[in-house]
Symmetry: C3
Subunit: 339 residues, 3 copies
């Protein structure tokens, strides 16, 4: 949708400098932008990228200077750009209408404007909120409930009874509500512990491609509103994740652990069972949190087993000097053989 710089400034609450009638029709990186594409730069080092760009309208920080452009000044240019993009670009539709090659149970209830792609299967007693899009090949199991304006890309599987809030986005290959990994050993074999709980996903959650979220064993697995999961993440049974938390690709969270709100969990982090990652904690990439451990609110941890970042850095700096320490140790040992 084409807007003027003035309209954009008003929408963003940004300070406008330059040609307020400048048209903005799309977004781009500085290098690939055309004249009517909006761009942004958020560090002084990148001002040159903006200056050299064909784009006529640039979102910049409050104090930045770029010659010959229409400027939209905002305290957080990247944030303003993200908001502008969502406003300018119509969200690409996953599927239009209800495809005749979708199989929808007569016992399912679809609200107004629901669309369902080819070969999708919607089982009995499913409820789907208004405007939700179910991509091609999705399977929505018995009794699952989805809120309004969810977006399921092709090949998503919701096991029976899974519950999604409003505006949940699920990427291809994600599996929600599969059995948790629980067995009891006895009589020389493993017996399956019942995995009959539920899974509840809050509003505005986004779930990456091929990510797996197990149902609870007896209780629920819960992911609260606004939380974002990257691709190939594993969420075990009875895990609870708070609001507005970010979990990067290939991280695994074992059974019954909790992650608070506003936490940041890096890529390939391993959180063992019954851990508590409190609100606002940060776990660096590849960190390993041992079973039952608590990471305090706001703490940043690193390494395996995870420890506070400062400690990790200090220990690691000495680790790097180990050969030097070791050699000195060898010489001292020769000098004090009786020690």
């Amino acid at each position: 949708m084409t807007r003027t710089a003035r309209e954009l400034a008003q929408f963003l609450g940004a300070i406008l400098e330059g040609d307020s009638t400048q048209k903005v029709a799309g977004i781009a990186s500085p290098e690939s932008a055309g004249p009517e594409d909006l761009i942004y730069v958020d560090s002084p080092k990148q001002l040159d990228r903006a200056a050299c760009s064909a784009a006529r309208c640039v979102i910049v920080a409050l104090e930045a200077a770029v010659e010959g452009k229409t400027l939209l000044r905002a305290p957080n240019p990247k944030l303003a750009f993200a908001k502008a993009a969502a406003w300018l670009l119509p969200e690409a539709r996953i599927v239009e209408g209800i495809h005749q090659a979708a199989i929808i149970s007569p016992q399912a209830r679809l609200a107004a404007g629901v669309t369902v792609g080819p070969y999708a299967v919607v089982e009995d007693a499913v409820e789907i909120g208004a405007g939700t899009q179910i991509g091609a090949h999705c399977v929505v199991g018995r009794g699952a409930r989805l809120g309004e304006r969810c977006r399921l890309y092709p090949h998503v599987t919701l096991y029976a009874g899974a519950r999604l809030g409003a505006r949940v986005v699920v990427h291809s290959g994600a599996v929600i509500g599969s059995d948790g990994f629980g067995y009891v050993f006895g009589d020389g074999r493993y017996w399956k512990f019942p995995q009959v709980g539920t899974v509840e996903i809050g509003d505005d959650v986004e779930i990456g491609a091929n990510t797996c979220i197990d149902r609870g064993a007896l209780g629920a697995t819960r992911i609260a509103a606004g939380t974002k999961l990257d691709n190939l993440v594993q969420v075990g049974h009875n895990v609870s994740i708070g609001e507005h938390t970010v979990i990067v690709s290939q991280t695994g969270i074992s059974g019954s652990s909790t992650v608070g709100k506003n936490a940041v969990i890096g890529g390939q982090v391993g959180i063992a069972d019954h851990c508590h990652i409190e609100d606002g904690a940060i776990c660096g990439a590849q960190a390993g949190i041992p079973s039952g451990k608590t990471i305090r609110a706001g703490q940043t941890v690193w390494g395996t087993p995870a420890r506070p970042l400062e400690k990790f850095k200090e220990q690691y700096a000495w680790f790097a000097r180990l050969p030097e320490i070791g050699e000195f140790f060898r010489r001292l040992k020769a000098r004090f053989p009786d020690a």
Copy 2:
């Protein structure tokens, strides 16, 4: 199915105390249980949870005391609960009948009671044992063979020729029999090493969502009876895994490695190629087993590169003291500058 406490006690071989006519119709956690739900507690600390529960019938340890409940005493309450759950709850069916929108080759042989969900594809020369359920959207490739009473959830892919024993459970998105990752570099490019072997899954194996098991290159990839794989696990070509072994989420096992029976492999473990994890070995979460290494039977290892747990703990305790050692080293160095 509703049972009495007496019937349950008989089935479990448990010692009954209290009202033997008490009806039990389901299972639950102590907190969510209704009067006719069975619950269990397995540590003295949890007896209060049982006492406060609405459940009237509780599985407890031999020596435990809970007032006002009908007790089923068993040496391993969690195991008894798992067995009771399997007995009380009818296994949820994945699919009923053979859906008209399934494509089944006339050359496939389906035994009695096989069910196939919508949009499933069963190719030529497939053999499927009695009572097996093929979920919606599964693809069963040419010549694959499945034993009796297997359960394939939606979106499982079996490549041509994959073989599954009886009662194998496969969760959504799992891929069984894909090409192994084998190439030979020559003339400036990679040439594919032939990946034309087989994959054989034993009875009672359970395979998690989005787990990948590659076929053998020339020989076979084998997973023996009773072994359980969590979600997002990778099993490379020509790997062999013994009976009753447990492999937690996101672990990867590289080509030609072997894992014995009754082993426990934690989450995110990396086992390089040509390793041997012997019977009963335990690999802690995130452990890394270097190429060609053997972990002896019954040994517990930790860390990367993996070493025995006691050694890991000792080394790690000193690692945590490195800053202190380093400071002392600095002072000694000043005192013995010629050392």
Copy 3:
């Protein structure tokens, strides 16, 4: 296809010794081979395996001796075997013809010899090159382009606009072109950063099962010709990977990082954002490359944070001796309490 030893020798440029009329009809491992199967051995230790095999024709190194066999001598027997296998074995077809239960947009353009399996969905404006096979249940999104002779196994998802070169092989469950993981935090919640870029896969790339490759945010994610990705690999937005690079299972590459050509990335490696892995670098399994780090051309790194292999080995050797150093430190401390 049956060949004679002479034909094979000519094709491979190998030196023939023995019966040039010996027929070769297949390939196998020495243990499972029949008389007309070709085998190879590439180390002196394995010559016995060849000698005991039923196979009559063996590819061996230039200097190796095996009694009673027809020998094909090549400088790299494994490479010669891989080439011979590709020549002898017809590539198994994924799908024949265009299945009537495939949904192909009238706006899609399919070149000669394209085959499409049951329940595959090919959306508007897709272009597919000659001889490409689209497996059952694949979803090829709007505007995607595939070159000649690609092979998509069942259940592959290509998001809108994905571009694949010629002879690209994609295994089941792989997702190409999903949204990158990019958000901006503001006003107490995460805002999606636009993920509207492209993904471009070069010729002869192979992509493993359940691997995820995100589209660029504004620009492109690129994987160059001849590169091979194993199963469950994660490639973030705007990543660029050069030619003939190998990436083992469960490795993750975060946004905007680059990997050069001829690199080897082991399994479960984590490459944080904005890293540069230069040409020919080798990252050992489970290595962790911190954000923004460069690994120089040809360097081999290990560990987290990754460091040169020799340094890792030296530091690690001293790490294993830490208990000994620590004890000596304790005794010295007693002897020099004032230090």
